[in-house]
């Protein structure tokens, strides 16, 4: 019996335990049953990971359409990301105990399980399956707040996630059709451990796959779905959303495109531009969403450098970022729950009645700012060292600039304007105990990793190099003094600018970003084209619209509710269009490979 259980744990992808817990939570009612699912799922997943089978071997596989799908394969790269996701799902589960919402509970667990599952699969098709599952499950985290703004943001969010999924499917199909190789281990250089950067950018389907990853990572111009959707979710939904999708994309980039030079510059740009938006943004959860893009930029740049030190830095940064970003979003979620707002212009002085939340926020802020002895320092240092060693001085300067910038928006602005600053007069109750406990867990990890980074460094992809870095460089006198110097002089600038009243006031409003193109510019352009009497309107109406209407009417006639096909099979026209579009993509790919 025990052997059977151990066997199941050793050969089962840990993500499955989270997904099953999510399915059970649909019917779980009452705190005990909910806790059993929300906490039991991550605990089982963690036990499965600990008792996992031999590394770098196909622990679970199945055949599909002549291809071998590797459903469970562990190596030192996937271990770090998977462990971070499991810990995040446990913390999110504790954080969510105060409110009973089966939709959020179940989709959060399924979302986490899909992310964990994705990092532990061994081939591109299995990755695609879990990739799509994260998209569908996470959608409900945005929808769950049940406001008109959240619903509309969810539709825009879904468009980006579907685009990413369709591109990934197309790229994988192109690759499978032309090379027949989909397993990461088979694509890697023989002997590479772990296999990273397994896809050559010039190989079939590579650019399309990279585009899919770019959307989920939030590359420049593709980033705004994060700032649009995340702040509109519930107080727990935003925490869940922040933990998985973007770091899953970082994992995928590391697995497939480590060492791609373009990622260095893309990552560097990602670290810089969000800083300027975060300075003037009023909604503190949106500030943290811009901060998320900024931090992912460090990871993307590290993946681009591709050296062993850089890959260690990317993996370590992803691990600590999952925890301290969750902590920061949890503190803002507590503020949202108690005050109904996270707008800096409406907050201030909350430390009087929410001191624990304020303290945890300060710990999260210190971590994200890479203050020595906090978790961000032990991870970001490797990325900065890798950038320094690469000789790319402009990139190093940009990353250094971003390091000072992150202190502004996440290190100082979020805790200062929420909990200190001017007194808003609000005297809300402290956060519920479960929220405080979850924040405490995350804060303890932030401090623990900062004080004792050795245990994290032992998990990194290149363990020996990490331990050497820990022994010689991380806490060297020059490194610590330089980091303190960077941050302390930045704090001096903050104090002087506040004293001289040269700090921009927090004002209500939305900040224009690239989303303007599809939320205002695009509809306005279409309206101008379609204005009555216009030549373009006439041409549009007589040719494209008539053709489109005719085709749609024909499809609707056959597949409408009550029509012949719908009486036989429960399909809707929308579902049929989705299938047709996917089929068109697949057909194009197949014909292009002949």
């Amino acid at each position: 019996m025990i052997d059977d259980i151990v066997g199941l744990l050793a050969f089962a992808n840990p993500g499955f335990f989270l997904i099953v817990a999510g399915l059970f939570s649909v019917i779980a009612r009452g705190t005990l049953a909910r806790a059993a699912c929300l906490l039991g799922g991550p605990v089982l997943a963690l036990i499965a990971l600990v008792y996992g089978g031999e590394w770098a071997s196909d622990l679970s596989a199945m055949n599909f359409a002549g291809l071998k799908l590797i459903l469970y394969r562990v190596d030192s790269l996937s271990l770090v990301f998977g462990l971070a996701f499991i810990i995040a799902s446990l913390i999110c589960g504790v954080y969510s105990l105060h409110r009973e919402d089966w939709l959020q509970d179940s989709t959060a667990l399924i979302y986490a399980g899909a992310a964990v599952g994705a990092v532990f699969v061994g081939d591109l098709i299995s990755l695609f399956i879990f990739w799509e599952l994260t998209a569908v499950a996470s959608l409900f985290q945005v929808l769950a707040r049940r406001t008109p703004e959240a619903s509309q943001a969810a539709m825009r969010y879904l468009a980006f996630q579907i685009a990413s999924g369709v591109l990934l499917l197309a790229g994988v199909a192109m690759r499978a059709g032309q090379t027949g190789i989909i397993a990461f281990a088979d694509m890697a250089i023989p002997g590479a451990s772990p296999p990273v950067g397994v896809i050559d950018i010039s190989s079939p389907g590579a650019v399309v796959i990279l585009a899919a990853f770019a959307i989920k990572a939030g590359f420049p111009l593709l980033h705004n779905w994060i700032q649009d959707a995340y702040p509109k979710a519930s107080e727990t939904g935003t925490v869940v959303l922040s933990a998985f999708t973007t770091k899953l994309a970082v994992y995928a980039l590391a697995r497939c495109f480590a060492g791609l030079d373009a990622l260095i510059w893309i990552g560097a740009i990602m670290t810089v531009f969000p800083i300027f938006f975060a300075v003037i943004e009023n909604d503190l959860r949106k500030v943290l969403s811009y901060s998320l893009t900024n931090q992912v930029g460090f990871m993307v740049a590290a993946v681009g450098f591709g050296t062993e030190l850089a890959i260690n830095g990317a993996a370590a940064h992803a691990f600590v970022h999952v925890i301290y970003k969750s902590l920061l979003f949890m503190t803002m979620g507590a503020v949202l729950l108690r005050t109904g707002t996270t707008k800096a212009s409406e907050l201030g002085g909350l430390h009087r009645t929410m001191p624990w939340t304020a303290l945890f926020c300060i710990i999260g802020a210190a971590s994200i700012s890479a203050v020595p002895l906090f978790s961000g320092f032990v991870a970001k240092s490797m990325t900065m060292s890798a950038a320094h060693s690469s000789g790319e001085w402009i990139v190093w300067i940009l990353l250094l600039f971003a390091s000072a910038g992150v202190l502004e928006h996440s290190g100082l602005k979020v805790p200062y304007f929420a909990f200190f600053g001017h007194d808003s007069g609000k005297r809300p109750e402290e956060a519920p105990f479960n929220m405080l406990f979850a924040m405490g867990m995350a804060a303890a990890l932030c401090v623990g990793i900062g004080l004792f980074p050795g245990w994290l460094y032992q998990l990194l992809p290149y363990r020996d190099l990490a331990e050497e870095y820990l022994a010689q460089d991380l806490f060297s006198t020059s490194h610590v003094i330089e980091q303190f110097e960077l941050l302390t002089f930045a704090v001096l600038a903050f104090l002087l600018l506040r004293r001289w009243r040269m700090y921009p006031e927090e004002r209500p409003g939305v900040i224009l970003d690239v989303e303007w193109l599809w939320r205002k510019g695009g509809p306005a352009a279409l309206a101008w084209l379609g204005r009555p009497g216009g030549f373009a309107a006439a041409a549009w109406e007589t040719t494209v619209t008539s053709l489109g209407k005719g085709v749609f009417a024909g499809v609707f006639q056959v597949f409408a509710p009550g029509a012949w096909v719908s009486r036989k099979f429960p399909l809707t026209a929308a579902a049929v269009w989705t299938v047709l579009l996917l089929g068109l993509v697949a057909a194009l790919v197949m014909f292009s490979s002949l």
Partner: protein
């Protein structure tokens, strides 16, 4: 003969001891942890005190940077005080850019999601004479 005792000197009147009012720490209703950790930050002198401490820390770090023995080829970041100057300048640049960027990019909160149109108040229909409620 008895000596009359000298009249007792009248002891100066002793005012009854006023009850000592407890020192008010924090504000009414303030969480005890906040009283312990944060209440002292609200004093008027704290701002100057904090600025002084940070300035002193900056000076100490600069001295430490100058005295630091560096190995390897010289580079820009090995210049004493470079990291401090860079941190100060970068932070100031980010903050000051907020003024023009805010004027350029900020729009009203209803820019993308206009509020729903106000529904006009409904006018109750007139009741007919001879109805039940008359």
């Amino acid at each position: 003969m008895t000596d009359t005792p000298p009249p007792e000197e009248e002891s100066p009147a002793v005012e009854p001891r006023q009850p000592v009012e407890p020192i008010q720490l924090g504000e009414p209703g303030e969480h005890p942890l906040s009283v312990l950790l944060f209440s002292w930050m609200r004093s008027e002198q704290f701002g100057r005190f904090l600025l002084g401490c940070v300035a002193a820390a900056c000076a100490a770090l600069f001295v430490g940077d100058v005295l630091l023995a560096r190995h390897g080829p010289p580079s820009i970041e090995s210049l004493p005080g470079f990291m401090g100057a860079f941190g100060f300048a970068a932070f100031a640049l980010v903050i000051l850019s907020g003024f023009p960027l805010g004027r350029l990019l900020r729009r009203p909160e209803t820019y993308y999601d206009p509020p729903p149109p106000e529904t006009p108040p409904t006018i109750a229909p007139k009741r007919r004479k001879g109805g039940r409620d008359d």
